[in-house]
Amino acid sequence: MRALARLLLALILPLTLVAPALAQGTLRIGMTASDIPYTGGQSDNGFEGFRFVGYQIYEPLIQWDLSRADRLAALVPGLAESWEVRKDAPTKWVFKLRKGVTFHDGSPFNADAVVFTFESIKKKDAPHFDPYGSGQVGFRLASLVGVSKIDDYTVEFETNKPTSFVPYQICYMVIVSPTQWQKFKDWRKFAEQPSGTGPFKVTRFVPRERLELEANKTYWDAKRRPKIDKLVLLPMPEPTTRLAALRSGQVDWVEVPPPDSIPQLKAAGFTITRNSYPHNWTHTLRLDKEPWSNKLVRKAANYAIDRVGICKNLLNDTCIPATGVVYKGHPWFGKPKEIYEYNPNKAKDLLRQAGFDASKHPAKAVHLISTSGSGQMLPLAMNELIQKNLKDVGIDVDLQPVEWNTLLTRWRAGFKTPENEGLNAWNISWNFLEPWSGFGRFFHSKSVVPVAVNTMPYINPEADKLIDEAERTFDIGKQNEILAHVHELVVDDAPWIFVVHDQNPRALAPKVKGFVQPQSWFVDLTSVTVR
């Protein structure tokens, strides 16, 4: 027995003493994705795919300025140096491309690469059409119908109508190397040896396990050449796994640590970064059926929610209260008439005015929620609190939890299916990165299911008019003002229960320095150092 114990010890001890040596300046990130996002160009896995893969390997013509924390990320020149809509033909946009940029494979970036990329997304009969990548971003470039090369460094995009939202669409399209694609003539093989112009290039791809990238030493913007040598991306869908990996030193950075772990992480010297960004967590209400067909009831529900309590007590300050689609300080916030603070008495009054009464005419609703899911934060605990808040003022909500995938599938079909007929709302979180995502897809009458995702449906001719006007307004300042008016309308109509805006918490090991968390879904990894 003693000999056996000795043998076991002899086997185990050396394992514990030797930790693997790391290259200088390696940043290892634990992502929430369950798989490595698509590396062939147009990213999947939501915006996390863009954040760590799409925008690191590749670049769009217009990109987000991710260098500042103090204001909403703005659009800045990327692979295009400048762009403008033609005065004589407002459906045509001229882009002047950056010179002297090369892809990771050494071939030059030019107008041909832009045309090639656009065709890979939009031209179904082209040999280089990428059905998968196209499925990921095609709908985001909805109004772009064509592109033509003017000269080697000038391209012209054409839209199906005059629309000022073009720059917002262009930033979803990352430019891939035609030369590299020609080597394989196959997107799957290209994805295993991808080539873009971004600050990092892929060195090793282990499907489902890890993606290794190295700094692009010849990146065109000398100010943004990565300070780290190596970047390793690891899919870790389980929050506890991410936490354990961070605390045991297997990774240096994790996305979305569990909120209740934040105090311990801070105490152990880890840095918690967070910032506002275009995310909202809401209940999307069904407007053609009681009780949410009544605006007063919707307002009552919005006054019933203790948002500060949710953020402080439940989520350890990883979110801020939401009183609208966008947060205060955002250019589209405007001056809404209603600021939904926690006011149960006002909620009860509103409910009474609406003619609801606990005994004769109770307000009852069935809400479909998820058990987990990307951007859903802590759906079960948060919804139980919301259910209690609503119950306190006299609204009975029956929560129906389903798995995330199921929720998305049912939501897409709209409320008017046999399966969804009994529902009054669904709880899904959204982005409002650009005008279409923020307003167009939800609040325009043309977006009613199945065309887009106005599931409620929210029909307001004034909102339609304003959204259309914003799309025709090419001056960004004026466009923002118009969108702020849309926001004021929506806040007053309360077609959603606005709950919180996530703050995108991430935990960084003490040796990770120089990271600025922007007001964005995306990050700039070039400023980061790892000692």
Partner: protein
């Protein structure tokens, strides 16, 4: 002998078909949709329909099943919806990782379990027997994923001795052993308990038989008696070992998920949440095949050790 093997292999075919039909039906009965996992939430209905057509999900279920079956018969498990890689590659990599983990945890469980089981049989009723019994009960009762989390907290987070997740990313034996150590222990707990109990009772059965008394009366050394006992209880133990090894391979979904060990269990978990039907069916089919082959191997081995077991 070969006729017997041939018949058993033929019998395996309906078993596998049955398993595949059940998996296929269950995946399609469950709510949710593989498309939701691979298409952005805001994609248009037309795009979703086109993708469904591309994968063949628009066809009636029996047709989908037959198409799949036809491909499998030709050795093609199809492509993953999520990664678009051939399923056979994903399954191959995952199976290799799971086999390694199943082997290491089985080895640990077998060696320690047999040792503890024999010890308690020979020390029946004494303190050591009771300790072993307690250990076995703990091993069987503690949920192994929970034990996995505790191991991570102690050895990775607190002591910082061993990595918390994943397979080794650097080549060499040492990183490999460091990464496999904790999942091995977690996965070995249940079979350890089971084997300890089975070995103990098998050995006790033999110990209580008259021939053992005769051997002892003959004055045979304790060591020789031990060998006789071991040999006679071997067939029973072997059956359990075979089954346990099979469970190790197929039943490691939770432990592999806790440790993000990239094996079949982890893959199965991912595939379930992504509704990645081709991967799901591929993994289950391969695992079911493994089970059938393993059972056959154990049966054959039993007859080799103990010719009294007839093969009819």
């Amino acid at each position: 002998m070969w006729v017997y093997v041939g018949r058993r292999l033929l019998l395996a075919i309906p078993t596998l078909l049955g398993a595949s039909v059940i998996v296929f039906a269950m995946v399609h009965l469950a709510p949710g949709d593989p498309i939701a996992a691979v298409m952005p939430a805001e994609s248009s209905a037309a795009e979703i329909e086109a993708t469904k057509r591309a994968y063949g999900f628009d066809r009636p279920l029996p047709v989908q099943y037959l198409v799949w079956l036809q491909r499998v018969a030709q050795g093609d498990l199809g492509r993953s919806i999520a990664t678009r890689r051939p399923v056979i590659l994903d399954v191959r990599d995952a199976l290799a990782n799971s086999l390694v983990l199943a082997l290491s945890s089985s080895l640990l469980a077998f060696v320690v379990g047999i040792a503890l089981g024999l010890l308690s049989a020979f020390r029946q009723g004494r303190l050591l027997d009771k300790l072993c019994a307690a250990l076995a009960v703990i091993g069987v009762s503690v949920p192994h994923y929970w034990a996995g989390i505790i191991l991570i907290i102690v050895f990775s987070v607190q002591l910082n001795w061993l990595p918390a997740m994943g397979a080794a990313d650097d080549p060499g034996l040492l990183p490999f052993l460091r990464h496999i150590a904790l999942p091995t222990v977690a996965l070995a707990l249940i079979p350890l308990g089971v084997i300890t109990r089975v070995v103990r009772s098998a050995a006790l059965d033999i110990l209580n038989q008259e021939f053992v008394t005769a051997l002892r009366a003959k004055g045979l050394a304790a060591r020789r008696v031990f060998v006789h006992v071991l040999k006679n209880s071997a067939p029973q133990i072997l059956t359990v070992l075979g089954l346990q090894f099979g469970f190790q391979l197929g039943g490691s979904v939770l432990v592999e998920s806790v440790f993000s060990w990239p094996g079949t269990g982890y893959l199965l978990n991912l595939a379930i949440f992504q509704r990645d039907i081709p991967v799901l069916q591929g993994v289950i089919l391969v695992l079911a095949t493994f089970f059938v082959l393993l059972n056959l191997a154990v049966d054959l081995l039993q007859t080799l050790i103990d010719p009294r077991i007839a093969r009819h």
